[in-house]
């Protein structure tokens, strides 16, 4: 009985000391708890679409409007070999029709992402980065993300672009948006 109490005391003490050490660190500095994509590292490989544990990936395309050139011929909207620049599906890059464009004034068009349609395939991001200002980029939507202990897309990301970020800045935004 005595041995048992001593054992319980040692066990409890060691556990509590571990907790003490770890929680003192918790209060000393801000922890990084939420997964996010660094758009500067992203290579638009398309794995975000397929590897997220959710049926439809929590990764969505975000449009930095202040970086956008509002062009008529948009590298993120039209396919490279589009026959004519109309809104026919055969000319568009987005497989789900999530990018919608609206005429603003000659010669500018506004582009907007319908996030409920976007599946994070990064095709438009690739187009916009290779022929455009790079205003389209991928981010993990924090209201959709399950915040898995090991993020499946972080594991398969070829450029290690997915890292944990703080609660205060849950998005890594591109220029002109801060």
């Amino acid at each position: 009985m005595f041995l048992r109490n001593v054992g319980a005391l040692i066990a409890g003490g060691s556990v509590l000391s571990v907790v003490g050490v770890l929680s003192s660190r918790l209060f000393a500095q801000q922890g990084d708890y939420f997964w996010q994509i660094d758009p500067n590292k992203c290579t638009q490989c398309g794995r975000c679409e397929k590897s997220c544990v959710l049926p439809i990936s929590a990764v969505k395309c975000i449009h930095a409007v202040k970086v956008c050139g509002y062009c008529d011929y948009c590298g993120g909207y039209f396919r490279q070999n589009a026959k004519n620049l109309t809104t026919g599906a055969e000319n568009l890059i987005c497989p789900t029709g999530a990018i919608q464009r609206k005429f603003v004034e000659d010669p500018y068009f506004e582009y907007a992402i319908n996030e409920s349609l976007c599946n994070g395939c990064a095709k438009c991001v690739k187009g916009c980065t290779s022929f455009g200002n790079g205003s389209l980029y991928l981010q993990i939507k924090q209201d959709l993300c399950k915040n898995c202990n090991e993020c499946e897309i972080a594991r398969v990301c070829p450029s290690n672009a997915i890292k944990r970020v703080e609660l205060k800045i849950p998005y890594v935004l591109k220029g002109g948006e801060e």
């Binding site: 066990a11 409890g12 571990v18 907790v19 939420f34 449009h63 509002y70 500018y108 200002n133």
Partner: protein
């Protein structure tokens, strides 16, 4: 001079921005306003604290039911609730089993901060175990609860097989810690068999593994808890010293064997009278041989793991990339993988990568050695545990194995007697 510098900096910055924007910013004449985008913040905050509240509540309920009242219905209620809430509703992240890796990582790498919920998910079940035994395993853990609920008929495994298989959790634990502290990945989360079932989706092999485990657990008591779960292995150490122990009956055992037959996890040991009288010298030799055996097994384990460390390190992404990069000229001259594209695209060089890989491999070597010694020790201790014969007068609970499922209570005729007395 200072202003000169300033101008230089400003021009370089403007050049940079020019280089970034291939197309100029439009000047709108129609008074167009930029649309404002709203970024949704994480919802976690509230849920996480609700999770912890429910965790404590359920564990208290199980402790009350098993240690104080000796009834089983709260276990069923807890199991159903836990499977629906922690499993199907919260999708099982973060769980206590996975939190081992976060805690291990934080203990070895002081720059890693573990969030409060993870610390609590790791420690609260351990603290409850020190007090009341493995009440967490009983039905609070959604994995245990799921296996408990699907169980139909018990086919008892042979003692040799179950002892051999119960080494597996320790090996799993050692590798989980190894890969976690070398920043290579969380294998407990990756190969979690039930998460696919709870999320109703995921990788096919993992879901299949989960279904196979579920079918097995219909006929074998809690295969995951006993033969896979590393957190159960940790809890089994603490439950040995628990303060308030579970008792099959308060009236005293009549050695009827019913509880032993009812137990799914082989946690009730039959009475045994040790008639072999050992002389003093023989006993001393036996203990000495144990003292030699354990360090020997530790050294062997350490050596085996050290030899294997090079192949273990291939689980690390950077090591794999290095292998691809350094074998490139020989194998596939034209065809680049996405990893290589990203690596060269960001200006990585082979030398930098080689340095990094060397560091990772050194880490693997060091920690593999320690963990090998640890595994050798575990192996030795379980061998000794098998060879020890203690006299037991009645059926007793082996606290390390007992998961507080409360099955045995209703099988005990003494409890029935007590109930009848209460009725009258």
């Amino acid at each position: 001079m200072k202003s000169f510098l300033l101008i230089a900096i400003i021009t370089s910055f403007s050049l940079l921005t020019l280089a970034e924007n291939r197309f100029p910013k439009p000047d709108f004449t129609s008074g167009y306003q930029y649309p404002i985008h709203h970024y949704d913040v994480p919802l976690e905050g509230m849920w996480i604290y609700l999770d912890i509240f429910i965790l404590v509540l359920l564990m208290s309920l199980v402790a009350w039911a098993t240690v104080k009242r000796a009834v089983r219905w709260p276990i069923i209620v807890t199991s159903v609730f836990s499977v629906t809430y922690f499993g199907f509703f919260r999708h099982g992240c973060v769980c206590s089993i996975g939190s081992i890796q976060n805690i291990a990582l934080a203990l070895f790498d002081s720059s890693v901060v573990v969030s409060l919920p993870i610390i609590l998910f790791f420690t609260l079940p351990i603290l409850f175990t020190i007090l009341f035994g493995r009440v967490f395993c009983s039905g609070v853990c959604p994995f245990g609860a799921l296996q408990e609920l699907v169980h139909l008929k018990n086919i008892r495994l042979s003692k040799a097989l179950s002892v051999l298989l119960s080494i597996v959790p320790w090996i799993y634990l050692a590798f989980a810690v190894l890969f976690s502290i070398t920043h290579s990945g969380f294998i407990i989360c990756r190969y979690d068999p039930f998460i696919g079932i709870f999320r109703l989706g995921g990788e096919m092999p993992i879901i299949f593994l989960g279904l196979v485990l579920l079918v097995i657990s219909m006929f074998v008591g809690r295969p995951f808890c006993r033969f896979v779960c590393p957190y159960g292995a940790i809890l089994s150490i603490f439950s040995r010293v628990s303060l308030y122990k579970i008792e099959i009956t308060k009236l005293g055992c009549i050695n009827c064997e019913l509880c032993h037959n009812a137990c799914l996890v082989d946690a009730i040991e039959y009475p045994y009278i040790n008639n072999v009288k050992e002389n003093r010298m023989k006993g001393v030799y036996r203990i000495l041989s144990y003292l030699i055996l354990i360090p020997m097994l530790m050294v062997i384990g350490a050596l085996i793991m050290r030899i294997g460390s090079d192949s273990f390190s291939r689980y690390n992404k950077t090591v794999r990339l290095y292998e691809v990069v350094s074998n490139k000229d020989i194998e596939r001259p034209n065809n680049q993988t996405l990893e290589e594209d990203a690596f060269y695209g960001h200006g990585g060089t082979k030398e930098m990568l080689a340095q990094e890989v060397e560091f990772i491999k050194d880490q693997f070597k060091l920690y593999s050695t320690y963990l090998g010694a640890f595994l050798g020790g575990v192996f030795g201790l379980s061998l000794i545990g098998l060879s020890l014969k203690r006299t037991r007068k009645s059926y007793t609970i082996n606290e390390a194995n007992c998961v507080n499922c409360a099955r045995c209570f209703s099988y005990c005729p003494q409890n029935k007697l007590e109930q009848d007395n209460e009725m009258e």
